[in-house]
């Protein structure tokens, strides 16, 4: 006994609903669907990572609960720059930090009563709303590492996750 499924009736017999649902030929529709699924998987796995913000450490730039997208190819052709908001991998693409790069490898960084100092000079941060009172002794960023922190300086520095991170852990940069 064989079961024949016929999903490609002549045009004049096919209802509009059926044509929208399966197209003229189910096999072609399935093939196209499979291609779209593979392309979507590749795109979201290797090119663009959807990011949901959880927490307040990047406020006011990124609010808790917002959705954004990170480009995973951004640092293939250029090194991360100061001011870039980057995605730092904690567990593949399932858990990550969203932080801003403040100092590059070899630079000296410090905070003095809320003011960011790079190589001993004041650095104006336009993205900060409330400068707070962060104070941190000067340190040199090791080679191959970047100094990252969040934009919310209202959180006490002791309760904020900030510090140096290896370049290999930076997955990409937030694009929108």
């Amino acid at each position: 006994m064989s079961l024949h499924l016929h999903f490609s009736p002549p045009d004049h017999q096919a209802s509009l609903f059926q044509r929208i649902l399966v197209g003229r030929d189910l096999r072609i529709t399935l093939r196209r669907g499979l291609l779209v699924a593979i392309a979507a998987w590749l795109f979201f796995r290797f090119v663009c990572l959807p990011v949901r913000v959880r927490g307040s450490s990047m406020e006011p730039t990124f609010q808790n609960g917002e959705m954004h997208a990170a480009c995973l190819l951004q640092h293939l052709w250029r090194n991360p720059q100061r001011g870039d908001v980057v995605v730092i991998s904690m567990s593949g693409t399932r858990a990550f930090y969203l932080k801003r790069i403040l100092a590059l490898p070899g630079e000296r960084i410090a905070f003095s009563n809320g003011v960011l100092l790079i190589d001993g000079r004041n650095f104006e941060e336009a993205y900060i709303e409330e400068h707070g009172t962060w104070t941190m002794p000067e340190m040199t960023v090791p080679d191959g590492e970047y100094f990252v922190a969040g934009d919310n300086r209202a959180i006490p520095i002791e309760r904020h996750t900030l510090g140096t991170v290896n370049k290999s852990m930076i997955m990409g940069g937030v694009v929108f």
Binding site: R54, M90, S91, P137, E158, T161
Partner: protein
């Protein structure tokens, strides 16, 4: 007549063969399942314990003090007596099970809610000396005075197998974002 008898006996032989093959397949499948269960027994026990710790540390709003104490006691059974927990800044290093229990109890009582999620885990078991190492990513959301603090960290957990099963001997923070030197640890 004799041809049909021959056919019948050939059919019986074939049926016996197929029955034997079926039994062999069932036995092999059973052996495979048993072997898999034995091979992953330690892994499953460790994963179960990790989930249990996450469940016990988590706290819902409105939890009573007695429940908190009971949970702290239960958590104690998952650690060896001389456990060392070094979670990195802002947490202080803890070097004994009783101290750890007190810290967990204190943290749980001062927080309004705690939600611990084990995001990822990778365990390697050394059967020869009954030890194991798990590298895991843990996300915690702690509700405190109306606001929620979130943190994600990678931990390296060292297990040892004793009479009671797998217990944690050491916990340390693995490399992720390294805090700058000279920052004072935050005390809740």
């Amino acid at each position: 007549m004799s041809a049909s008898r021959e056919n019948g006996s050939v059919g019986k032989v074939q049926q016996r063969r197929s029955n034997r093959l079926l039994w062999l397949a069932v036995v092999l499948l059973g052996a495979g399942i048993v072997a898999y269960m034995i091979a992953t027994h330690d892994l499953r026990q460790i994963n179960g314990k990790l989930n249990r710790i996450a469940r016990l540390v988590s706290k819902r709003t409105g939890e009573g003090p007695l429940t908190g104490l009971t949970r702290a006691r239960e958590i104690m059974t998952c650690f060896s007596s001389n456990v060392v927990v070094d979670l990195g800044s802002p947490w202080q290093k803890v070097a004994e099970r009783e101290e750890l229990t007190a810290v967990i109890h204190h943290t749980r009582s001062s927080a309004e809610s705690i939600d611990v999620t084990v995001r990822d885990r990778n365990t390697s078991v050394q059967r020869t000396n009954h030890t194991a190492v798990t590298v895991t990513t843990v996300e915690a959301a702690v509700g405190y005075r109306g606001s929620v603090d979130r943190d994600v960290r990678i931990f390296r957990i060292f297990w040892v197998k004793d009479r009671a099963g797998w217990v944690i001997e050491r916990v340390e923070a693995a490399d992720s974002i390294r805090p700058p030197p000279g920052l004072r640890a935050w005390e809740s």
